[in-house]
Point group: C2
Chain length 283, copies 2
């Protein structure tokens, strides 16, 4: 396959940045991938062998790159954008993998004079265990990869980014930033917060005995309870739709609570069963 | 292995009853297993080959059995107990697999003059798809199998039941009925209701697009959303600890809701990560 980018700077060498590097190198072994992070994190990335070159300084990492990939917590991406914009080649493409998009895209609009130089992204792929140690070349396989804006007009830079996204096995989905954050609130950020709250409740109610007494249903339901705090603080702060999503969940829970005594939960289970089938494409 | 029971009547030939029959026959091929259910359900069980003999009438199924296994929704078990008590041999053991135990054990105490004749049980094994079609001989492998009461004095009937439970791969855990229901509220029934409420919220917020846009995290979190209504109506009605568990969850959710703006969720994620590790025995 033709090499879409020859020198790629990945800022943030954790789970997503590391997996992107591994996936990219698998698809395009000739691409040179620069990893940029704090020295301690870079050292772990080096042990994992995901990057060709570790560079602790962001400006130095971006110089000469034709693709800059920001795989940091949302507010760190916002803070990194002016630095990146100041040093990156005018012909390079800058993209990110932040979990919310409104704030990031606003800041990118401010710092990049040409809209062709930045496109916001969000691969909906994750793993409850973070860090480069959990990175995998197939993390994006089959996952939706949100891109912010509209694909048209498709310029050369964008065409090459799409080639990368497809080469790593993801499915590009174009959305406006606000619509992305609204959907992500329901499909990703609310489930995460629910897993945390449920885990806290179970810990409070059953304590250590949960380890010996829980069944596989609880373990699956609470897979996201293992997610690292680091990225979620920024998600909580920057998704304007999350409070509303939590409020709606509260109303559905109250409805169930009020129907426990009668056991009249048929409609609730019907809706729930319907979404289960939708998620597994059974209908 | 010595045959602990030679004629076993299983009332309810769905997922749990069917799996119990399959597991029992695998461990003790010489045992004769009678399946009892509505004719239509029995027909499906027959196709699956899980039972040696289909008997639509409960009294007829129990006559001559040395083990009666009630695998029905909770209130159907309560209703079946007097019938079973009236016909079953005085030397037989009666047990059940109902999801809540307080009501069932109260009724069993009333209808069985000798406490040796009944022991309440609850295998914490399930699958989100119900029915005999989902039954499997290994459903109980590695799962906790709650038994109500205390193991001592261990009479001969109980020893034989324990032999069966161990032969099907489950781990017996002795508990009082009230403590069982309290723990099950947190470990099983609350997670189920949360999955339903979360599914309803996601369906409301993202609709059909959830099918194309959700990641693997949501699919795992909502595995229980596929559970069939049939058994859960009775769980909702008969677990006295479930309202309290839902209230506690509500308080944790409110706490998270109030901290979204500051993003100060470190303690919440720490508790959540801790339970995650407990569930996977990582600490």
């Amino acid at each position: 396959m033709e090499l879409p980018f020859s020198r790629v700077a990945v800022l943030g060498t954790g789970l997503v940045g590391g997996s992107f590097a591994l996936a990219l190198k698998r698809a395009f072994p000739q691409a040179r991938v620069i990893g940029c992070d704090r020295p301690k994190v870079l050292e772990r990335a080096r042990e994992r062998g995901a990057f060709d070159e570790p560079v602790p300084d962001a400006a130095a990492a971006c110089r000469g790159a034709d693709l800059v990939y920001l795989a940091l917590p949302v507010l760190e991406i916002v803070r990194a954008l002016p630095t990146v914009a100041a040093v990156v080649s005018p012909t390079a493409l800058v993209t990110d993998a932040g979990s919310t998009k409104t704030l990031i895209c606003q800041e990118a609009e401010r710092v990049f004079p040409s809209p062709r130089r930045f496109v916001g992204g969000h691969p909906l792929a994750g793993r409850e265990s973070g860090g480069i140690e959990s990175a995998a070349a197939d993390l994006f396989a089959g996952a939706p990869y949100f891109l912010i804006g509209a694909p048209e007009p498709l310029d050369d830079r964008l065409r090459r980014l799409l080639a990368v996204i497809e080469a790593i096995g993801a499915r590009p989905v174009w959305l406006a930033a606000g619509e992305h954050d609204r959907l992500a609130a329901f499909l990703s950020h609310l489930p995460q917060m629910v897993a945390v709250a449920l885990a806290e409740t179970v810990l409070e109610g059953a304590g250590e005995s949960a380890g010996a007494l829980a069944g596989p249903g609880l373990r699956d339901t609470l897979r996201l309870a293992g997610s690292p705090y680091a990225i979620w603080a920024d998600v909580a702060r920057t998704n304007p739709h999350l409070p509303q999503a939590l409020d709606r969940l509260g109303r559905w829970l109250e409805r169930i609570r009020s129907r426990l005594e009668s056991g009249d939960l048929r409609e609730d289970f019907e809706r729930s069963n319907r979404l289960y089938k939708i998620l597994r494409r059974l209908e």
